[in-house]
């Protein structure tokens, strides 16, 4: 495959799809039936009024359309790109029932929001300053959503983020063909324009203590997400070419990794695994394997993403458990054994079935670790047996000055779920601060 490089150093094949033209958008907008109590809206975790924003596009009112979207979901521009619309809004579109192509809600949403978000158009009125101050830990989707909502209420917001660049997984971990890093960073700029301050390279717990956070701010929102993918514990895992799949995706996104002509094995069956194989294939890898210890039906990756991986020539190696990584200095092969379910449904390895796949890279995508070491230091904040922060329906933790949301609460879901958590928490924080002030 001829690998063209674009000016940002990322292969052309990995560039996101171009946005719609006015002509395309109007044709698509006019296809919308304007359902009552629309199933697409009910399917949206952030309750975006889809028929309303589409109708506004069809009348040429992009500002009104963007206001409708961003009022429900301040990260509407990135959700337009990274949401699994096939299982959310577009999956619920009634046109599916007519055996017609559902409305391309994601691309219409990008069309409606891009000019406002990336053009820095100010469409929200920020309330008069209240004097209240909120600290947010993590500049990922949950923290950005909470921050934007709180800033609109007139509160002072500071987001502390351990990474050098803000945006969380939107910036570092999203498959590049869905959204590039630059797009995520520009969206963060839009949120900063609402008055949100972001301090990058500041890890709460080490650079700033939690006690200082609690002293400096009246309320704290925890949106720290998850950690890296833990090591598999296999022989040879320290060889060159063995990586956390998320680190690999981040490297592909900034052009520092190259897989052209290589053989890549990704271990795991979830969305990160599927993103990693698809990206590797799109970036010109010679052979790409997804090695998963169970079958297709048990995979956590979305069927539409699995379909796309297959279309890019990814080979799915099911019922296989890696046992060893072989090589000298650098990876040469991944050794696995076959697996099966026993009569009681428990996964078992099958003796005498070991085999090796020659590969140049092994990427682990077997699930991100919880940030329990940090979370367990939070006073009165309960952590469940799965390592998730326990919150009430307003996303308030057991500590009445600490709220939480996003992956650290739900264990790892979509950007759109994190946005909703941040929004709900922000409204609860606002209510709590106003109640306190009134007393």
């Amino acid at each position: 495959m001829n690998q063209m490089k674009s000016p940002n150093g990322i292969s052309e094949a990995l560039q996101p799809a171009p946005t719609m033209t006015w002509d395309e958008a109007l044709v698509e907008a006019h296809r919308c039936l304007m359902c009552w109590d629309a199933p697409c809206t009910r399917a949206c975790p952030t309750d975006i009024n889809v028929p309303q924003f589409i109708k506004r596009i069809s009348t040429g009112d992009l500002i009104g359309s963007a206001r409708s979207i961003l009022g429900s979901n301040i990260l509407g521009a990135s959700c337009a790109r990274v949401c699994p619309t096939e299982v959310l809004c577009a999956g619920a579109c009634v046109l599916n029932e007519l055996h017609e192509r559902p409305i391309d809600i994601g691309r219409l949403q990008a069309f409606a929001t891009d000019d406002v978000v990336f053009g820095g158009v100010n469409i929200f009125e920020v309330a008069e300053p209240t004097g209240h101050s909120i600290g947010i830990i993590g500049a990922g989707p949950a923290g950005l959503s909470a921050g934007a909502e709180l800033a609109k209420f007139g509160h002072s917001v500071v987001i502390y983020d351990a990474n050098e660049e803000p945006g969380g997984l939107n910036t570092h971990g999203v498959a590049n063909y869905k959204m590039d890093k630059h797009t995520s960073l520009r969206e963060v700029d839009f949120i900063k324009s609402l008055g949100v301050e972001i301090r990058n390279g500041v890890a709460v717990g080490s650079d700033v203590s939690m006690d200082t956070m609690m002293d400096d701010h009246e309320a704290v929102f925890v949106g720290v997400g998850l950690g890296g993918v833990p090591v598999l514990g296999l022989e040879g895992e320290d060889l060159d070419g063995v990586d956390d799949a998320l680190d690999f995706i981040a490297a592909l996104r900034d052009g520092s990794a190259d897989v052209a002509g290589q053989r890549v094995a990704v271990v795991g069956g979830g969305n990160t695994a599927v993103d990693a194989v698809t990206q590797s294939a799109m970036a010109g890898a010679d052979r790409v394997y997804l090695v998963y210890r169970r079958g297709r039906a048990q995979m956590g990756g979305y069927p539409h993403d699995v379909e796309r991986a297959l279309q890019h020539g990814v080979e799915f190696v099911h019922w296989s458990a890696p046992v060893r990584i072989e090589g000298e200095g650098r990876v040469k092969a991944l050794a696995s054994v076959r697996t099966e379910l026993d009569d009681s449904g428990v996964l078992q390895t099958i003796e005498g079935t070991e085999y090796s796949i020659p590969v140049d890279r092994v990427l682990r995508a077997t699930g991100q670790a919880k940030l329990t070491p940090f979370l367990s230091t939070l006073d009165s904040v309960e952590i469940d047996s799965g390592g998730r922060v326990v919150v009430d329906e307003h996303h308030r933790t057991g500590n009445n000055r600490i709220w939480a949301g996003g992956d650290c609460v739900n264990g790892g879901k979509e950007v759109v779920n994190a946005v909703q958590h941040g929004k709900i928490a922000a409204r609860s924080i606002d209510e709590a601060l106003r109640a306190t002030a009134a007393v």
Binding site: H30, L33, M34, C35, W36, P39, S58, V94, E97, L98
Partner: protein, 434 residues
């Protein structure tokens, strides 16, 4: 294969599909190509003293992405010399002797002027003439077109002048920009018209350029009202055609129907409501002469499916099914029925009925994220609205109900001895918030 040929006031036409006097009939070359494509007749773009047009002339109304649902124009009659047109009329008739050429005319209100031009176009070979008493813009300011058509006395008088000169049949083209089309048709008939053509265009402003505040079409920094045509005007035209066909005074007056015709179904509807031939303009301006192919095929197949041998047998069959409101059966009851197998759960029927009609449909989300709707039978007044908004073919049907009621008209019911009981209607609005 059904016979599509028709005869209108003595003129034999290979089919009822004619082109209306308009840009598609501006030149002999165009009309010749149209006949080659299958059009049976054409009404030549209006001849008279050649005019000068403005450049920007048309504007349209689009609906939900569909172009030119309605078209508006401020173009005037021919801008080509009478001599040139006469030569081309002769050429076209020579090349297409079996096709019908009617020539539209408009001159000042002077008997000699009418006599002169009628004589010339008949000598060139016209099969008939059409008096343009309909043009609603520009020409009307000069005392012609709609300025004549809007005054029954003028219509009658000038038709009579034309009849004195003409050896071929005289069609009078009527303007819809009046209160009751029947008076215009009666006036034409009184003047001796052999047939009427309707409708001409409707006074219109299609919209305003929201940046410059200038209405469309924009001519410099001003605009002028124009004449409206295209699919949007068809219902208005059908009503006027039917009114003339149903009027005892003009029931025998042949009609060439015009307004928004694009398909064979449109043609069939015009003929069922009394037209003998039809005339098309906007659809050809949109898609070209080729659309006539579908009219031939579709109308012929339709007639075959109904075992009707000739299109002439279709004429006027729906006129007798038009009645005044007071003669409708007020005990005829229909109720909406939703085919749950076909329903896609868009909820449009619910919100249309709830906000726009009679609150007779229920709606709720289902556990699988879809929407379930149902008819509240006792509240349904059978208005049809839900079936009109439903995007799925045959999903909502209106089902006649035999509830033991006896048919009864308003006239009968309000008379001294009603033949039966008024079947009870659902009552709405008796409580607030109940």
């Amino acid at each position: 294969m059904a016979d599509l040929s028709v005869n209108i006031c003595g003129i034999q036409s290979p089919n009822p599909f004619w082109l209306a006097s308009a840009p598609p009939t501006n030149t002999g070359d165009q009309i010749s190509r149209a006949f080659d494509a299958g059009w049976g007749g054409a009404v030549w773009k209006t001849l008279g003293e050649p005019i000068e047009n403005v450049y920007s002339r048309y504007s349209s109304v689009d609906i939900n992405g569909s172009r030119m649902m309605g078209l508006n124009n401020i173009e005037l009659i021919t801008d080509r010399s009478l001599d040139l047109n006469l030569i081309e009329i002769a050429e076209v008739k020579k090349r297409h002797p079996d096709n019908v050429v009617i020539v539209s005319l408009m001159v000042e209100s002077d008997a000699d002027a009418w006599d002169s031009i009628i004589t010339q176009v008949e000598q060139a070979g016209a099969d008939g003439i059409e008096l343009n008493f309909g043009c609603p813009h520009g020409m009307s300011e000069r005392g012609m077109g709609a300025a004549v058509g809007q005054v029954p006395e003028y219509t009658c008088d000038i038709t009579a002048w034309a009849k004195e000169s003409a050896k071929t049949p005289v069609f009078v083209k009527l303007t819809p920009n009046i209160t009751d089309i029947r008076h215009a048709a009666r006036a034409a008939k009184d003047g001796g018209a052999d047939a009427v053509s309707l409708i001409n265009t409707i006074n219109s402003i299609t919209g305003v350029d929201l940046d410059s505040f200038t209405p469309r079409p924009v001519v410099g920094n001003k605009s002028s009202h124009g004449g409206y045509c295209g699919p949007a005007v068809k219902p208005i035209a059908l009503n006027m055609v039917a009114a003339i066909a149903a009027d005892p005074e003009t029931a025998d007056l042949p009609i060439s129907g015009i307004g928004g015709i694009e398909t064979w179904q449109d043609v069939a509807e015009y003929i069922l409501l009394g037209a003998t031939t039809i005339q098309v303009c906007t659809a050809v301006m949109h898609y070209g002469y080729r659309i006539v192919e579908g009219m031939h095929e579709g109308l012929s197949n339709y007639l075959d499916s109904k075992n009707i041998a000739s299109v002439g047998e279709l004429r006027g069959k729906s006129v007798e099914r038009l009645a005044t409101w007071e003669n409708l059966d007020i005990n005829y009851i229909v109720k909406a029925d939703i085919d749950q197998e076909k329903c896609i759960g868009c909820g449009l029927c619910y919100i249309a009925c709830e906000d726009g009609a009679h609150q007779a449909i229920g709606s709720k989300p289902t556990v699988d994220g879809k929407t379930e709707v149902w008819i509240k039978y006792d509240d349904c007044v059978g208005c049809n609205l839900c079936s009109l908004v439903c995007p799925v073919k045959d999903c909502i049907t209106m089902v006649p109900q035999d509830l033991g009621q006896k048919s009864m008209t308003w006239v009968e019911y309000s008379g001294d001895n009603p033949p039966g009981e008024l079947y009870p209607r659902p009552k709405h609005g008796l409580t607030i918030g109940g």
